[in-house]
């Protein structure tokens, strides 16, 4: 990058472009805030909202982001990364399911007698299932690794009292203990099954969405683990929209910090 051997006065003058000028006065471009793109990985996660506002208004003229505009906290970043990961795999599975359905519909119209159709569909579904299993296994391998776990432990120690402690955080649970309340807001008849695996340490559970087998059915998204103000214990709140189709909805409960799967939540909305 070129550095100007300018004195401070000259530099100050260049920083303030004039909207209009007197005749014969030579204009100078202001020194740019930067002369290259931001290439680091934070741009993977950057907010793209600004791309939609055209920028000719002068109030936005100097609003370039600082070069190292990193996301808020480690926790936020990890959460966002996990969300991205889940979204991609969910999208992939959903699309696979859709393809499978199309195959099934088309084959059932004319080819089921040969038996090839069902066999093919099973193969297709197995393929997608295998991919999903591979993914979960791989996540497990990596996330159970000692270096990563030690990093998390180190973080807690480094952050001291301000950092969330998995052993003492209100609202955390472990799979072995009871006392988890479930609150359902629904006008429909509903069955809820929460299957948490035993785990020696306490953790904060997290859920994103529960999906029905049919990808056309919208997922259940209004649910969260919270701290019950009265009992100071964890509570799982689930809200079923009135027009939610009857189906069995399932999703994985994960540890908010390690993202390891901790169990399964199933909600059956009855007709």
């Amino acid at each position: 990058m070129i550095t100007h051997n300018s004195k401070s006065q000259a530099r100050k003058r260049r920083h303030a472009p004039k909207p209009a000028t007197s005749n014969k006065e030579r204009l100078r471009r202001p020194d740019p805030a930067r002369t290259g793109p931001i290439r680091n990985a934070t741009t993977y996660l950057r907010d793209s909202r600004s791309w939609n506002d055209r920028t000719t208004d002068s109030t936005r003229a100097h609003t370039d982001r600082p070069a190292q505009d990193s996301p808020d906290t480690v926790d936020d970043v990890v959460t966002r990364g996990v969300k991205l990961g889940y979204k991609v795999i969910e999208d992939y599975l959903r699309q696979g399911q859709r393809s499978a359905e199309r195959f099934r519909e088309a084959l059932q119209k004319g080819c089921s007698k040969e038996g090839k159709g069902e066999e093919a569909i099973d193969g297709l579904l197995r393929l997608y299932k295998d991919m999903n299993d591979l993914w979960i296994d791989a996540v497990g391998v990596i996330l159970r690794s000692p270096p990563l776990l030690s990093w998390f432990n180190g973080t807690e120690q480094r952050n001291g009292a301000a950092a969330p402690s998995r052993g003492k955080v209100p609202g955390s649970i472990n799979g072995a203990e009871g006392g988890l309340a479930i609150e359902i807001v629904s006008k429909r008849r509903t069955q809820v099954t929460l299957d948490l695996r035993p785990h020696p340490q306490r953790y904060i559970p997290l859920l994103y969405a529960l999906h029905a087998p049919n990808p056309r059915i919208p997922p259940l998204t209004e649910m969260a683990f919270r701290l019950d103000k009265k009992t100071k214990g964890p509570i799982l709140q689930i809200k079923i929209p009135d027009r939610q189709p009857a189906a069995l909805y399932t999703g994985v409960v994960i540890d908010k910090h390690t993202h390891e799967p901790r169990g399964m939540l199933s909600v059956r909305v009855l007709p």
Binding site: A10, L27, R39, A41, Y44, V82, L107, W135, I142
Partner: protein
């Protein structure tokens, strides 16, 4: 006394970058703050994208121009341009930007089989959500999550949709979205194929899983990198071991495997080189050649020499000096380009223009800019950019441009403004020749064949000097890098970075030809959908089926097929551009010979019915604009008939394509650079975020140049500028 006045901006050159800068600086929101004048060589705008209407009002391009679905900046500005233009669809066929393009979902590559025959592989890339230039509020195409989702789509496309065309009638294209509409028989075949390649698919699933891991792990400040690398490498080895033997016996499986093998190498390389955490992003590997970097990360020689790989080099014309043996493409930019091309396209991967690029891009911009008050000075050839004297600079003052010197190539009768457009059935278009009637001594110029766009034709009728603060305040230098050594001698001499830039940022000459045929493509032996195909044999490795342009031309009998071909044109020995004025004609004749040989000896691999026997193209297929009617059925033509077609040797310094060679991108200078504080540069040769020769890079550069002057648009509004 101080008098407020608009800021005068001289834009030199009329290519994509210059026009984008002018468009940004004259947005209504600026309230007329910038008084812009465009100085253009010859009679038309467009630079390397200029086109003209020739005999039969046929479209004559500089080369092959296809817009890609990730050209977000280019499409966005063009859409705004058409919206502002407000053409009446009842009066003009191309009133909306969507009228100007047609989608091309077929991408093709050609490969020589082990038996020596050429196979053409085409894959259907399904339409993706949205359109290029749409708002991005809810969808960030540059997020890794988006890349992964698109990777999944690509793999699905490979599994279902790759087909070969070896002369037999091919199966119709099928997209995943269309599975339900296909015949049951086709579906069963598709499912069986899927299961046959289950192993490949599972491997692809593993790769996908790895990328998910990367999403998870890249967000952690402290990373077990060794563990990740080891894990990825061991998976990659397993995949390779398991698949090599299985797929090598089958051409189709091999084609898929080669792509997957390359993807494995990319994943391995990303981990090994720490690309996800490097603040330089993909630029960290720009000193490597693409193939070299992939080889380092385990890609097989077979994959590195695959048609897919050659296609990527062909699309980037990545041959130094035009020499096929010197294929070179900076790895980081090559990877960035591939990610953008395959994973961030919207609507369609390729967008083909329905008419000439001049007609559908530069004519609308010209009209809108004229309405905004932009002045156009045609027939102005930049000769010199004069700098302030070093001794005149105050302490701390940067050097600046004090004058621009032009040759005036022609003057307009009556001192009027040159009117550059012609009407083609209601559509404003650029002609292939200037309108000599408007020029003083125009008839004489025509007789003497003045070539206003030739670097070697220096004839002029006068000179003009623009002085700083009188005639301009700021300069947008939009000529291509090939011309910089000739017109910016002082800038180059004064600044070592400029010297390094002109030394390292290289260009390559290109050759192109267009043919119009009586017969339709199926009658020539190509029954697949219209395609853009690369990796074919030299010297014309890329072919685009441009049948969609036929209705826009004015032939007595509409062409059955239109085909554009292009490739690099090898430079003569030595590094400098020859000064011999006969040089361009010698090269043009060379291209004509190449085209004739190509049609006689190569094209039958794509169009088997276009030859009467091996080595003999059916010249009677070509349409001559002088013919009033279709030639007699069995009358044989000869190769002289090719002279009625259109071909070009793009050897002018400004016409040469800009290369992205390994180890050179760091020498590029950004339009934001303030070395000369009243000058900014614009073009696909600048450091513009996407450093590869294309329309999108030029538009991004033009927007950056506008930002350098007006601090608008903001850098975040330049889509994809901040990209790993």
């Amino acid at each position: 006394m101080t008098v407020a006045r608009p800021i005068k901006v001289a834009v030199v050159g009329g290519g994509c970058a210059s026009i984008a800068a002018a468009f940004e600086l004259t947005r209504p929101e600026h309230g007329g703050k910038y008084d812009v004048t465009v100085y253009q060589l010859g009679w038309r705008l467009g630079g390397k994208g200029a086109s003209g209407r020739g005999p039969a009002l046929r479209i004559e391009e500089h080369g092959l121009h296809v817009w890609l679905g990730f050209y977000e900046n280019a499409f966005r500005l063009l859409r705004e341009c058409y919206a502002e233009l407000g053409r009446d669809p009842k009066k003009c066929r191309i009133a909306d930007w969507r009228d100007a393009f047609c989608n091309d979902h077929e991408i093709g590559i050609a490969e020589q089989s082990r038996r020596g025959a050429w196979l053409a592989w085409t894959a259907h890339f399904p339409p993706s959500e949205g359109l290029p230039g749409d708002p991005l509020t809810t969808y960030n195409p540059f997020a890794l999550g988006s890349y992964l989702a698109r990777a999944a789509a690509l793999l699905r496309a490979l599994l279902f949709d790759v087909k070969t065309h070896d002369g037999d009638a091919p199966a119709p294209a099928v997209s995943p979205a269309q599975y339900g509409e296909q015949s049951n028989e086709h579906l069963i075949v598709a499912v069986q194929r899927l299961l046959r390649y289950g192993l490949v698919a599972t491997s692809a699933g593993v790769l996908e899983a790895l990328t998910i891991l990367e999403v998870l792990l890249k967000t952690l400040p402290v990373l077990p990198e060794n563990m990740l690398t080891t894990f990825i490498e061991s998976v990659a080895q397993t995949i390779r071991r398991g698949l090599e033997d299985v797929v090598m016996a089958d051409d189709e499986a091999r084609c898929r495997w080669e792509i997957i093998d390359l993807m494995v190498a990319i994943f391995v390389g990303a981990a090994r080189f720490g690309l996800l955490y490097d603040p330089r992003g993909l630029d960290a590997i720009n000193d490597y050649d693409c193939r070299e970097w992939l080889r380092l990360n385990g890609a097989s020689e077979r994959s590195l020499d695959s048609a897919f790989m050659r296609g990527l080099y062909d699309l980037a014309l990545a041959y130094e000096g035009g020499d096929r043996k010197r294929a070179a493409l900076a790895a980081g930019q090559g990877l960035r380009g591939s990610l953008r091309m395959f994973f961030t396209y919207r609507g369609a991967m390729f967008w083909k223009m329905r008419a000439g690029m001049g007609d559908v891009v530069f004519a609308p911009f010209y009209e809108v800019l004229r309405r905004r008050g932009v002045k156009f000075e045609f027939f102005h050839r930049l000769e010199n950019v004069k700098l302030s004297h070093s001794g005149d600079l105050a302490p701390g003052e940067s050097p600046s441009v004090r004058a621009l010197e032009f040759d005036v190539q022609a003057k307009i009768r009556g001192g009027r403004e040159y009117q550059p457009l012609i009407d083609v059935n209601g559509l404003p278009c650029w002609p292939s020749q200037p309108d000599y009637r408007q020029l003083i001594h125009g008839a004489q110029m025509r007789r003497q064949k003045w070539d206003f766009e030739s670097h070697w034709d220096r004839r002029k009728v006068g000179r003009k000097t623009l002085r700083v603060s009188h005639d301009f305040d700021f300069v947008v230098l939009g000529v291509s890098v090939g011309a910089i050594p000739y017109v910016c001698k002082e800038l180059v001499a004064r600044n070592p970075r400029w010297r390094e830039m002109v030394k390292h940022v290289k260009t390559v000459a290109t050759q192109a030809f267009q043919i119009w045929l009586h017969k339709k493509m199926p009658a020539l032996g190509w029954a697949a959908p219209p395609v853009t195909l690369s990796a074919f044999t030299e010297p014309f490795d890329t072919w685009a089926d441009m049948r969609q342009c036929a209705p826009e031309e004015s032939w007595p009998c509409r062409p059955g097929a239109i085909a554009y071909f292009c490739g690099v044109l090898p430079d003569p020995p030595g590094n400098s551009i020859p000064s011999d004025p006969r040089y361009p004609n010698v090269r043009r004749e060379e291209v004509r010979r190449h085209a004739i040989d190509f049609l006689n000896h190569q094209v039958h691999h794509l169009w088997p019915a276009a030859v009467s026997k091996p080595g003999r193209f059916r010249w009677e297929l070509l349409m001559d604009p002088k013919d009033n009617r279709r030639p007699k059925r069995h009358k044989q033509g000869n190769e002289r008939r090719f002279n009625s077609q259109h071909w070009r040797a793009n050897v002018n310094p400004t016409d040469r394509y800009v290369l992205a060679l390994p180890g050179t991108l760091k020498y590029r200078i950004s339009p934001l650079d303030n070395t000369y504080d009243n000058l900014t540069i614009a073009g696909d040769w600048t450091d513009c975020g996407f450093n590869e020769g294309c329309v999108e890079a030029a538009v991004m550069s033009g927007r950056l140049a506008a930002h350098a002057i007006a601090q608008s648009p903001s850098l975040e509004d330049i889509i994809g500028y901040d990209h790993p």
